[in-house]
């Protein structure tokens, strides 16, 4: 039998039970909108944490006697690390000036201090691929082996916090996503079950005249995919409308609030929605038939 036969049967079946199918599309679209909104939040959360992580830098405080040729060769040495993108030298004087500037509101804090106790330092920024715990650890290990480096500061606590945050976002998101996907699948499956139940007479007649189970089910599977795709289309439209509403009302405040550009309709979310729409539609139909056949036997 040609595929067009089954597609026509699926479309005819949907036309014959238009109201139930419209209801199914609305239910699937609402469920997928929630899932899509979750995708948008999770994708932005991951991007944000990664961007925050990229602001990490390693500061190597130098011993007092490091200057001139030894300083130049030290800079060359550090620049040659594969993890390092750029370094900046901050002299003792610049460090003190910066501190004074920072304490401009309360200069008395420095009253008891004579001379310049601050060390010169090298601020080391890492390449994109190494802006993570592994990259930082690798660089700090190498820096500790250099005798002219007195001490290191690399926001260890901050780094740990970001690592934890990224883990929470990833694993929490995965767990929440799994729950959300499962509940959406159940909702879609129940909705499709309703559309199948309205056509049990048809299924019974088909069985009676010798239709194989696959022949009976194929149009329903196609219907499931069409319902899923239509639901995903309307879910995408809803999220796009929400994106427009948020951007229209909040505009640049949004970027100020999060300190970065937010993408409220990333293509990954749209692709994900359509993939899940197809998957839910198909799996929903298969599950529904399975549950109905269990109920019969």
């Amino acid at each position: 039998m040609r595929p067009s036969y089954f597609i026509n049967k699926a479309l005819a079946g949907m036309r014959n039970a238009l109201l139930v199918n419209l209801l199914a599309v609305v239910t699937i679209a609402v469920s997928l909108t929630l899932l899509g909104a979750f995708f948008v939040v999770i994708i932005n959360a991951i991007n944000l944490t990664e961007r925050l992580g990229s602001r990490l830098e390693v500061v190597a405080y130098l011993k007092d006697n490091v200057s001139g040729e030894p300083l130049s060769s030290l800079e060359e040495n550090i620049k040659s690390f594969p993890e390092v993108r750029e370094i900046a030298y901050i002299s003792k004087e610049e460090a003190l000036a910066s501190l004074k500037k920072g304490l401009a509101d309360d200069p008395s804090v420095l009253d008891g201090i004579e001379g310049n106790p601050l060390p010169a330092s090298l601020v080391i920024r890492l390449k994109d691929d190494f802006q993570n715990t592994g990259g930082i650890k690798s660089v700090t290990r190498k820096l500790r082996g250099i005798s002219s480096v007195e001490d290191l500061q690399y926001g260890g606590e901050l780094l740990e916090r970001f690592s934890v945050l990224i883990s929470v976002v990833k694993f929490g998101g995965a767990a929440l996503g799994f729950g959300l996907i499962l509940s959406t699948l159940l909702i879609v499956s129940n909705t499709i079950k309703l559309t199948i139940q309205t056509r049990m007479d048809e299924i019974e007649v088909m069985r009676l005249v010798g239709a194989t189970p696959l022949f009976i089910k194929t149009p329903f599977f196609i219907e499931g995919v069409i319902l899923g795709l239509t639901g995903a289309f309307f879910a995408t439209l809803t999220i796009a409308a929400l994106k427009w509403l948020i951007e229209y009302n909040l505009g640049s405040d949004l970027n100020l609030l999060f300190g970065a550009d937010l993408d409220l309709l990333p293509y990954e979310a749209v692709v994900g929605l359509f993939c899940f729409g197809i998957l839910f539609g198909l799996t929903g139909s298969i599950l529904s038939f399975w549950r109905l056949s269990k109920a019969r036997s």
Binding site: M1, D201, M206, R207, L208, V209, G210, T212, P213, F215
Partner: protein, 215 residues
């Protein structure tokens, strides 16, 4: 053609439907199966189109055991057996043509042949001029004619009719019986189950009472 050997069927220890049935129906016979409601007529027919399996015993059609058919083989049995019910089992939202064409679509018949065959079989029940009408617009007698047309469109080995006149008035009932007799005259074996003995005309009569056969 149809052989039942020591067939028993029960739906539980206290729900014996058929008890030690031995039956032989020859090819081309017209057989009435009669008995009160609940006597086991419907169960007997169900055994013949694979809707039920005997608890024990054998059911053979054309020498092939059908009581042990795999689930996947049952659709192919049903393409060789036409069935008509008291409640017609038509798809109300579809036309006469669409209803009658279903068995041909299922067996993969090309569209041009479907059109020819449906037209031809609807002529025998005198509904060919109305084939684009929805079945819901037909009278009960006409709906049963559509159901008969659907049951015979695949030229089945046998036609099973389970109380086919039960929902019809006397005139429509007799008309259906005449159509089935005409189909039988062309060589199809017909098994006609009814509780109404007044309908019985020429043909062999098998009486079932409480799951036992009294021929």
């Amino acid at each position: 053609m149809i052989k039942l050997i020591n067939v028993n069927k029960s739906y539980g220890p206290k729900a014996v439907s058929l008890s030690n049935i031995n039956l032989h129906i020859k090819k081309g016979e017209f057989v009435f199966i009669t008995g009160a409601s609940g006597s086991g007529k419907t169960t007997l027919l169900k055994l013949l189109y694979g809707e039920a399996r005997p608890t024990s015993g054998q059911v053979l059609i054309n020498g092939k055991k059908i009581d042990t058919l795999k689930r996947s083989e049952i659709p192919y049995l049903r393409r060789r057996v036409g069935v008509v019910f008291q409640d017609f089992r038509l798809l109300e939202g579809r036309t006469i043509f669409e209803n009658v064409a279903i068995p041909l679509e299922v067996s993969g018949t090309p569209t041009a042949d479907i059109v020819k065959k449906v037209h031809s079989v609807l002529s025998t029940v005198r509904l060919h001029h109305r084939m684009d009408e929805k079945v819901s617009s037909l009278s009960a007698g006409e709906q049963q004619k559509v159901a008969v047309a659907r049951a015979v469109i695949n030229d089945p080995l046998m036609l099973l009719a389970d109380e086919p006149t039960g929902s019809l008035d006397i005139k429509a009932g007799e008309e259906i019986l005449d159509i089935l007799m005409g189909i039988n005259a062309k060589g199809t074996t017909v098994v006609f189950a009814t509780h109404n003995r007044a309908l019985i005309k020429d043909g062999r009569v098998i009486t079932i009472e409480k799951g036992r056969v009294f021929s």
